[in-house]
């Protein structure tokens, strides 16, 4: 039986200046799930994350991690459970050297020197920064800082890993290796992963379930369910993945498949399967409704258009 990793009930939060950031949030995340939280700028993703490890204290005991109220946890227990990698790496690398920074969490957990050393080495190796131990943070490139900030959280080996915009500003190679790394942690160690991201093309590679946040939780479902819901996407200023849109277009030309792919990898699989099951070829054509259908599809994705009907 799986355990509830995160449970939030009726969470409301306004910043001291009166900005309402979160309203009536209810979420339940099982251990080992891969979750993405999407939402436009200012939707409250970062604010929600600050609640997940008790940085912002909720007074109603409504953030529960592995069955225990986060507000009641000691700092050591809290950081063993939830590790958060924030958006801006400069905010997170606050120690004089990379080594000190990555060692910061483990030392606060009270681990002995050898274990701290081991964890720092392994975290740095995981993000590909071996040999950067003595470097100072302000001389690293943005992507390197980003990976160092991740290492600083990985070294605490948290059971829930929360990442705010992990792929933003990374080059393609680093983006792919980051996605792979998160998925490996999930698969091999059973780490529950929660990411906030704007890159819808990468979302389906990192999540089995998506929450759509816009102050309130407006939707929750599998990536396909979410991206099929054009009105939901438009109302919340979101996009569907390019591949998904392309296959929507292809369907206007008479291409039929069971489920629309969300990424290139999915697409290869879907195409292979469909073509093989179709006598080793597919047939695309233009029929009388094609132009109308195309217009309709494109219209649905257009953020500036009025909702259809």
């Amino acid at each position: 039986m799986t355990k509830e990793a995160v449970s939030i009930r009726d969470l409301n939060y306004s910043y001291p200046d009166g900005t309402v950031a979160l309203e009536d949030i209810n979420i339940t995340i099982e251990e080992g799930e891969r979750i993405a939280i999407i939402g436009q700028n200012g939707a409250g993703k970062t604010t929600l994350f600050l609640h997940l490890n008790g940085t912002i204290k909720s007074h109603n005991n409504n953030v529960v991690i592995f069955g225990k109220d986060i507000g009641q946890m000691k700092s050591k227990e809290r950081i063993e459970k939830v590790g958060i990698v924030f958006q801006d790496p400069d905010d997170q690398l606050f120690m004089p050297t990379i080594f000190d920074d990555v060692a910061f969490g483990p030392i606060n957990m009270g681990l002995d020197e050898d274990e701290v050393e081991r964890r720092v080495r392994s975290a740095l190796a995981t993000v590909g920064l071996t040999g950067f131990e003595d470097r100072v943070p302000h001389h690293l490139s943005y992507g390197q800082k980003k990976r160092a900030a991740l290492a600083a959280v990985l070294s605490m080996e948290p059971r829930i890993l929360v990442l705010d915009e992990p792929t933003a500003n990374l080059d393609p190679r680093n983006r792919i290796s980051l996605i792979r790394l998160i998925n490996n942690l999930n698969r091999n160690k059973g780490t529950t992963t929660i990411v906030a991201m704007h890159d819808v093309n990468a979302v389906s590679q990192l999540a089995d379930r998506i929450y759509v946040l816009n102050k309130r939780m407006v939707a929750d479902g599998s990536p396909t369910e979410i991206f099929m819901d054009f009105d939901l996407l438009r109302e919340n200023n979101l996009d569907a993945p390019d591949v998904f849109r392309l296959f929507n277009v292809l369907s206007c030309f008479g291409f039929n498949c069971e489920s629309l792919p969300l990424s290139i990898d999915d697409a290869v699989e879907v195409l292979t399967k469909t073509i093989e099951g179709n006598g080793k070829h597919i047939h695309l054509h233009i029929h009388e409704h094609t132009h109308e259908d195309l217009k309709d599809i494109m219209h649905r994705y257009d953020h500036h258009a009025e909702p259809s009907k």
Partner: protein, 255 residues
């Protein structure tokens, strides 16, 4: 704008660089205190000479150190003019009825020389090890933790703030702003400084959140591994010896 990289030459190799960081800080501080209490110009000159000698031994580029000494000189050099005019004593010369005194000039020179000696010492000390090493050494010397943390974060974020300032000023010049000496320019620059303060404040908040997220409870602990060697004992004996010597000398001179 230049980054205040005091430890740019920390990777050079010299006896001063190899000196154990804790002992270096302790003995150099002792020397600085000893120097600022010197009462004789000749001995002060001797101390200044000793500081320069240490600087030469450390192989730090003279220009690098001198550029920073200049900043201090801007503050102390005016004393050479003010003090002779204000301190009472035997008259040296007088202009327009205002007289300059011998004592005034003597005190002012003493202050300038002692200041230079002390500043050169401190720069040699800071310049010859990485700043993170300095911080760890201070931490091990049981300097109050809040002080060490203040130093540490100042040093860490001064670079970020400079970057923020630079990107702001680049953004402004990209929008056609040319700073000049008029009301408009000044008010824009005032805004910019205000923004910088707000940004720094907000960053401070986010950094604190990140620290809490990693179990910060008030005392950052770091791992330190320093070991004293024989040369460290010899070098500290020489430095401490000199620090005491300059004062013994005064007594014998006065007797």
């Amino acid at each position: 704008m230049e980054y205040p990289e005091i430890d740019r030459y920390a990777s050079l190799d010299s006896p001063v660089h190899r000196f154990d960081p804790r002992t270096k800080i302790a003995t150099f501080t002792f020397l600085v205190f000893s120097f600022v209490f010197i009462q004789e110009i000749t001995i002060a000159l001797f101390a200044l000479f000793f500081s320069i000698l240490l600087l030469l031994v450390s192989k730090l580029p003279i220009g690098f150190v001198f550029k920073r000494v200049q900043v201090v000189l801007i503050f102390v050099l005016p004393l050479l003019i003010i003090m002779p005019l204000t301190v009472e004593g035997t008259e040296l010369f007088s202009v327009f009825g205002i007289s300059a005194t011998h004592e005034g000039l003597r005190y002012a020179s003493l202050i300038v020389i002692r200041a230079m000696a002390a500043v050169i010492l401190i720069l040699t000390m800071l310049g010859s090890m990485r700043f993170d090493t300095t911080i760890k050494a201070l931490y091990m010397l049981k300097v109050p933790s809040s002080l060490v943390q203040m130093l540490m974060f100042t040093y860490r974020y001064i670079f970020v703030i400079i970057d923020e300032f630079l990107s702001m000023s680049r953004a402004m010049s990209a929008k056609g702003f040319n700073p000049g000496m008029n009301m408009y320019s000044l008010s824009i620059i005032g805004n910019m400084v205000g923004m910088l303060i707000v940004k720094s404040y907000e960053r401070g908040e986010r950094v604190y959140q990140a620290m809490i997220s990693r179990g910060y409870t008030g005392n950052p602990k770091t791992r330190t591994a320093f070991a004293m060697r024989r040369t460290d004992y010899v070098l500290s004996a020489i430095l401490v010896g000199f620090a005491i010597l300059v004062h013994i000398n005064i007594n014998t001179v006065m007797m």
